[in-house]
Symmetry: C2
Subunit: 243 residues, 2 copies
């Protein structure tokens, strides 16, 4: 659909390159995939729990979150997403969406037919492997989140979420470890860590007082990465960044 030097889905391609070896032919096929590109406002629901999507969603710009809600109405964010991420690759092989996805900033996404992506995955095994690997890393991150909300206190939980976010952004070339722009409200941070916004607020103040970071609204500056990492009990192994 486009054949520029920099294809529209470039962030996704760069991510897939990190996930596995891609040959020239693989890259050509990926660049030739049919896309429906869309700009969406903040808080737009991209996938709704219960839907049976016929396409997958690539995040090209901005940030997104996946969440579930309990019958009490409580929300739980189960993952955060940055440009290059595939937001719902599980729909390649699962019918019904078991959770929702929404943009947490204004964002640019590309929709791809799940049939076409599936065909590509089996026609070009390198692509299939990269996609599968991506699913597996997603799952690894979910496991770490179970540990995070299950067994860490508020300070560690929030610090851990920040560490993960920074490292993943860095890996995609989206900013530095020292200067972090977190596109989330304190309520959303709470939803991601199993806390209330009130307690998030108090805990951020504590992290500030500890000298681990400095806040100015949504702008965080990590003052002492190593201290933050220790507070967070953060070990990046579960991100499986090294191939």
């Amino acid at each position: 659909m486009q054949s520029d030097d920099e294809p529209i889905i470039d962030p996704v391609i760069r991510k897939l390159k990190r996930l596995g070896q891609l040959a020239t032919k693989d890259l050509a096929e990926l660049s030739a995939i049919t896309l429906h590109v869309e700009n969406v406002p903040r808080l737009r629901q991209l996938i709704r729990e219960g839907d049976t999507p016929e396409r997958c969603c690539f995040l090209l710009r901005g940030f997104a979150a996946r969440h579930k809600v309990a019958s009490s109405g409580a929300r739980q964010v189960v993952s955060l997403h940055i440009p290059g991420d595939i937001l719902d690759i599980q729909h390649l092989l699962l019918g019904r969406a078991d959770h929702s996805v929404e943009a947490i900033t204004p964002a640019r996404v590309a929709w791809v037919s799940k049939g076409e992506l599936q065909r590509l995955a089996w026609k070009r095994p390198n692509i299939g492997k990269a996609l599968w690997r991506d699913c597996l890393i997603d799952a690894s991150i979910f496991r770490e989140w179970v540990l995070n909300v299950g067994r860490r206190d508020a300070k560690s939980r929030i610090a851990h979420m920040l560490c993960e976010f920074v490292i993943r952004c860095e890996a995609m070339g989206l900013g530095s470890r020292e200067h972090l722009e977190l596109p989330m409200t304190q309520t959303q941070i709470g939803d991601a860590t199993g806390l209330t916004s009130v307690h998030v607020n108090r805990t951020l103040k504590l992290l500030d007082e500890d000298g681990a970071l400095v806040r100015d609204r949504n702008h965080f500056t990590v003052m002492d990465w190593d201290r933050l990492r220790k507070i967070a009990d953060f070990d990046p192994g579960y991100l499986h960044e090294a191939a």
Copy 2:
């Protein structure tokens, strides 16, 4: 390696059949796979965090759990496994184990070379799809667990874990909804729900008093499935049982 009417890895094959369409040829190749079968005692570590396994582990008999540990020493069980489950399919495409797996009862497992399984996945796309689908369902369960430990209270968490366990056992033909044999200590239930064993004990008593279930050591009888399901806020959709 074996060609009986009932191959040794029958539980796994039955599960894969539920995950996707398998042709006669697929079944033949699956049954011909090279296995290393092993009986292991309770609490045997099958995979250790940090390992770089060269094989995958099928659970044929007994029960297993996957867990991570925080630097504080706190354990978090991230999933429970029943016969037919593949315990570490993520190692097909990921090198380093990001968590540990252990038998929680005496168990029988079969080890398969990850290279051989990978070749099979690409040679027989039906098998590949079934395996990939299995990974995706695993991930869906992790997401539900994040919600469970993040946003539900102790009673719901434990009830939810019980509901999931029952439904999955039922789907594998391993027992009924009314009579549940839970192969876990209260400490392990706590590790799976982000609680302490003391609080698990108190909460089980509450569930008992509510009339949702009756306990006799590890034997649970669900007295009122619908009440338990309501307490648990349990909706089996995330298990993606229907193909």
